[in-house]
Structures are given as C-alpha cells and as structure tokens.
C-alpha cells in the first residue's frame, strides 16, 4: 500500500506517493531527482546522506520516507543561493577540502547545521560536530579549515 507524503523540501511544497519501505535518501534521489545527497554506508555511519529535517541534522538513509509527512527538509540542493554558492561551498573550493567528492554534500549540510546552531564554533566544536561525517580522501584538516573559515560572513549569507 502506497503512502501519500506531503512535505516541504528546500522551501517548496512537495507531494509524492511511495511504498513505506524506501529511506528518505532513496525518495530524494529516486522519486524527487535530488541526487546531491549521497549513499555512502547506508547504515547511519558516514553522513554522506545528511539532510536537515525540521531543523535537525539527520542521516536520510535511516529515516523512512513516510516519516517526513508534514516535515520540512533541507538537502544540499537547498543550501546555495540562486545562481551562486553558499560561503561554506566557496570555502570548500578555496581550501581544496575535497577529492573524490562523495562525502562533500554531507559535510556541507552538516557544516550548515553547525553554523546555524553555533555561528562561531571553535575547532574542537567543529571536529566534534562533524565526527559523524566520514571522508576517506582528504584527512579532515582541510575540511575543518574550510568550515572554520566559513564563519566569516556566514551570518549574512545564510540569513
């Protein structure tokens, strides 16, 4: 039996029918064509599928799609302003904080959630907050530098 789901995704009202089984990640990618969120581990360890669900950072691979009925979801596609990059994305480029790029959307979303919650994080804050995001290429230092550097001007651009 299909479930009717109504939610707000990246500010837009969205309605879709789905089987109860798919994860939010599968619904985003396969039903809604939002392929920015990546499948890494598919069991809640790596953070590549991170989205913000009703203001909370979550792993979309361990949320069932029907659970988002009535909720607001922000994916990586909803972070950049029209036609540009968010400061966090710009700093990831400047600091070369990515290699293969599979973990990057999850890091961007997690960094956005961190800076929304704590606009001036310390390095320790950032490392702890991002501990649920795994990167197997860069070794984290560049990512952390990019995130800490994003605090300049972040408040204006994410308002």
């Amino acid at each position: 039996m299909k479930v009717h789901v109504r939610a707000t995704i990246n500010g837009e009202p969205v309605e879709f029918l789905c089987e109860p089984r798919p994860s939010l990640l599968e619904a985003l990618r396969d039903e809604l064509g939002l392929t920015g969120s990546k499948e890494g581990c598919n069991n809640g360890n790596c953070g590549a599928c991170n989205v913000i669900l009703d203001g909370r950072l979550v792993n979309s691979c361990i949320v069932l799609a029907p659970e988002i009925d009535g909720a607001a979801v922000t994916t990586v596609e909803g972070i950049a302003p029209a036609g540009g990059l968010h400061t966090i994305q710009q700093r990831f480029l400047e600091h070369a904080a990515l290699q293969c790029g599979v973990c990057t959307p999850g890091f961007i979303v997690a960094a956005k959630a961190l800076l929304d919650e704590k606009p001036r994080p310390t390095e320790a804050d950032a490392r702890l907050y991002l501990a649920g995001n795994l990167c197997r290429c860069t070794g984290y230092d560049k990512i952390i530098r990019a995130v800490l550097d994003s605090t300049n001007g972040n408040a204006e651009e994410t308002a």
Partner: protein
C-alpha cells in the same frame, strides 16, 4: 529490505491496538537508528512498522516535582539541550551526549536504546543509577518494570505481544545528589563501549554521609547490570575511597563478560571496577557541588 506496512498512530491506544493485532511481526519505530538498519540487513523479520513519534506520551519530556519523565521516543538531543535536566540528572546528560554523532543524537532515543537491549547500551546504566522505572502499555493495560529488569538477554526484553515502552520515569533528583556515566573505548568518540558504568550518589546534609547510591554497568554481562547489594550497603556510610573500592570489587565480581573484538574477559572485568570507582568519585564531586549550590 522486505515490504513493510507503515503506521503512524496519533494515540497510545491506537498504537497498542496495531501492535497487538500484528503481534511479533510489528515493531515500534522511534529514531530508527537501530531498527531501520536491522530491517535493511534482514536482522529483524518485522514487517509492520509503527511510528510512535506522533503519540504524545512517547514524545513528552517532563521535569517536575515528582521527577523526570522521558517519553520512549524522545531523541537524545532534547535531553542534553535541557539545562535543568543536565543539572538534576547529569549521568543521563553524559550518556545522551556521547551516543553516536550529532545525526544519531538527533534521532536516537533512550527508550529505543533500552528496547534494542544491547548489553553495551550507553543509555541504560544512567537510568539504572537514577532508579528508573519503565512504563509499559499493552492490550491488557499498563504495568511498570524497573529499568534493570527490562532487558532479559541480548536483544531481548520483557515486552510481550502488543506491548510498548511508553516512557521511563526517574525519581526526583536534587539537593545533594550527583551522577556520572563513563565508558571505555579505545578512541575519543564514536564507538561502542568496551565497558561502561553509571553511578548515582545522594548525600546527607553533612555532605559526607551517603544517603543512597546506585550503580549500573554496561557491556560486562548479557544485560545491563545493577549492583544493588553493594550500593545498598553504602547507605549510612561515609563517602570514602575504601567504601568505593568495595563497590568496585563488587562490580568486578558481578561482571560476567564475553570476549569479542572489542575486549577480553579480564579487561572488561577490570574496567567494570575502574569505571565504577571513577564514576562514583565524579558523582560524589557533583553531589557536593550541588549541595554547595556550585553546580
């Protein structure tokens, strides 16, 4: 993952009805951090999923004169973001803020941690230490079970067909009391406990004599353990290193650990003692600070 039915009832009665009707095929869904992974890996044969996050009794987090009620589906983040709860139930705060990363803490609940019945659950020793009681609803009414009696084996609980954990109630904690949860892991964060201990101490007005104390242990037996005899014996005694050493020795004796990739039997037994002593010491410091109004 096999096909599932999904229900999101808005009342406790409705949730119990669906669970009772589907029997062993049904599982309540709170944060899903264990359940969804188990379903996907075919480690659970449930196919009727009852999302309980719309049931008011399961999402309530209430601190009042009688104590603290933690709805079984309340995510860890709501617990550690509440400063009053952090002050009155610091061991619960400790555990809620070290289970998984932010993404897990934003979904995972202590009720789910209990129902998953992992021997290594970080959320359970603090609930034992604080003298918690489980409120269970089922087709024939409600019942209460002490937290330390809730798990009966790895992955197994006292819940019977159609029954649901509604909430965990912790008695009032304040005055000269303190608590602490610590675990041993070979890294700084993001790991499963090799062993864990949660301790609670309440002092008499003299700030030296123990009025009551409790200790819960994780990952040293098939279920979380309560050290009832050893801690009952602390009541009326001074909070000294010798008294704590006796409880630590009791923890080593009570431990019935297994050997696995995380640790050896001797290591877990040793850790049960060390963590018991350390958490009692911190609980004592916190109790004194609370009594002096410095916490």
């Amino acid at each position: 993952m096999r096909q599932i039915e999904y229900h999101a009832p808005a009342s406790l009665a409705e949730a119990v009805e669906i669970l009772a009707k589907a029997g062993p095929r049904a599982r309540p869904l709170a944060g899903g951090t264990d359940l969804i992974v188990q379903l996907r890996e075919y480690r659970s044969d449930a196919d009727v999923i009852v999302d309980v996050k719309r049931v008011p009794e399961l999402t309530e987090l209430r601190l009042d004169g009688d104590g603290l009620v933690i709805g079984a589906a309340v995510p860890c983040c709501r617990i550690y973001e509440d400063e009053q709860i952090a002050r009155a139930y610091p061991a619960v705060f400790d555990a809620a803020s070290l289970i998984g990363g932010i993404q897990i803490q934003n979904r995972a609940s202590l009720g789910g941690n209990l129902c998953n019945a992992s021997p290594a659950a970080d959320g359970v020793p603090p609930l034992i230490a604080h003298g918690g009681t489980c409120r269970i609803a089922g087709p024939s009414g409600e019942r209460e079970v002490p937290v330390e009696k809730f798990c009966v084996g790895p992955g197994k609980t006292v819940l019977e067909r159609g029954e649901l954990l509604v909430s965990i109630r912790l008695p009032r904690s304040g005055g000269r009391s303190g608590s602490r949860y610590e675990r041993f892991i070979p890294r700084n964060e993001m790991d499963i406990a090799v062993a864990g201990a949660g301790s609670f101490i309440e002092l008499e007005d003299d700030g030296e004599t123990i009025r009551s104390a409790r200790v819960g242990l994780a990952a040293v037996a098939p279920t979380p353990l309560a050290l009832a005899n050893a801690t009952d014996a602390l009541a009326g005694r001074k909070a000294t290193a010798e008294a704590f050493a006796e409880v630590a020795e009791a923890a080593r004796k009570a431990a019935r650990p297994i050997r696995d990739m995380r640790g050896e039997i001797w290591q877990r037994r040793h850790l049960a003692g060390v963590l018991t002593r350390r958490t009692l010491e911190v609980a004592l410091e916190r109790a004194r600070a609370a009594g002096n109004g410095t916490r």
